[in-house]
């Protein structure tokens, strides 16, 4: 109980791991491309949470700066990913990731 009430870095890391796991499950099992992309955002956020938690643990700001870079990457990823999604939808009239199988022999 004592360790439950005393919030340490480990608590934040466990939360980050749980979010990461949820994201991984979403990416690996869902069929809708939009939700897969959102799960990737979940994963990136879990990483950010860890970075900021470590930043507080060491008292430096490198983790926060890296979190900002990760957010930048997430923006770029979302823009390109959604662009691909629109191109895909235009060609196949579907958003199911199972049907991206042109390269399958």
């Amino acid at each position: 109980m004592e360790s439950m009430l005393h919030i340490t870095t480990l608590h934040y890391l466990v939360l980050g791991a749980a979010l990461f796991l949820l994201g991984v499950i979403g990416v690996l099992t869902r069929r809708n491309v939009v939700i897969v992309l959102m799960s990737i955002e979940l994963i990136l956020n879990a990483v950010n949470l860890n970075l900021v938690a470590f930043s507080r643990m060491w008292g430096g700001l490198h983790g926060q700066v890296f979190a900002i870079f990760v957010i930048t990457d997430a923006a770029a990823e979302a823009a390109v990913g959604l662009g691909i999604l629109i191109a895909f939808f235009r060609n196949k009239e579907t958003v199911n990731i199972d049907e991206v199988n042109l390269l399958k022999w």
């Binding site: 690996l28 956020n45 950010n48 926060q64 700066v65």
Partner: protein, 169 residues
């Protein structure tokens, strides 16, 4: 910060985040997923505030919740989602995916139970007053090169998105 407030808000916010995360990956309707993700992101911004990172929290709200998620909602409305909502929601390899995820979860549990002693349990308190100024000094000082590369990455992403989404260029 009072010692009672920190655990209370931590458990409240992490509960919101986890419920939001579960809703993201289980909802049939992508719009509901997106809304759950927005709730998760806002709760995470509050957690950043608890971790003495107000600037990252602000960036999280303005970029993620205000920018990226609007883009998501916009695209969901452009593509028709009625058909995919009526179909099977999980892909054909979901058994493999779930077992891989379970293995990853086991790995996390193993790592954190074995290695929890290496984390110092004292919570450092950082000065919050000039957080923005310090982050700015680092971004434009030590991480200048990375910053420029990030701007280049964004340029490439803009061009890529336009090339992908436009019918005729």
């Amino acid at each position: 910060m009072a010692p009672v407030a920190t655990p209370f808000f931590f458990y409240l916010l992490s509960g919101i985040m986890l419920i939001g995360g579960i809703l993201v990956i289980t909802r049939k309707n992508p719009v509901h997923s997106a809304l759950a993700l927005i709730v998760t992101l806002l709760a995470q911004a509050s957690i950043y505030l608890m971790l003495y990172a107000p600037f990252v929290a602000g960036v999280q709200i303005i970029l993620y919740a205000g920018g990226i998620m609007v883009l998501f909602l916009f695209v969901i409305m452009l593509v028709s989602i009625e058909r995919s909502m009526k179909e099977r929601q999980f892909n054909s390899q979901w058994v493999v995916g779930m077992s891989a995820a379970t293995a990853l979860g086991g790995l996390f549990i193993a790592v954190y139970t074995k290695g929890k002693d290496i984390f110092p349990d004292h919570a450092l308190s950082m000065v919050e007053d000039d957080n923005t100024q310090k982050v700015a000094t680092m971004l434009y000082g030590q991480y200048m090169f990375a910053f420029e590369i990030a701007s280049l990455l964004l340029l490439v992403a803009i061009i890529g998105a336009v090339v992908m989404a436009k019918k005729r260029i």
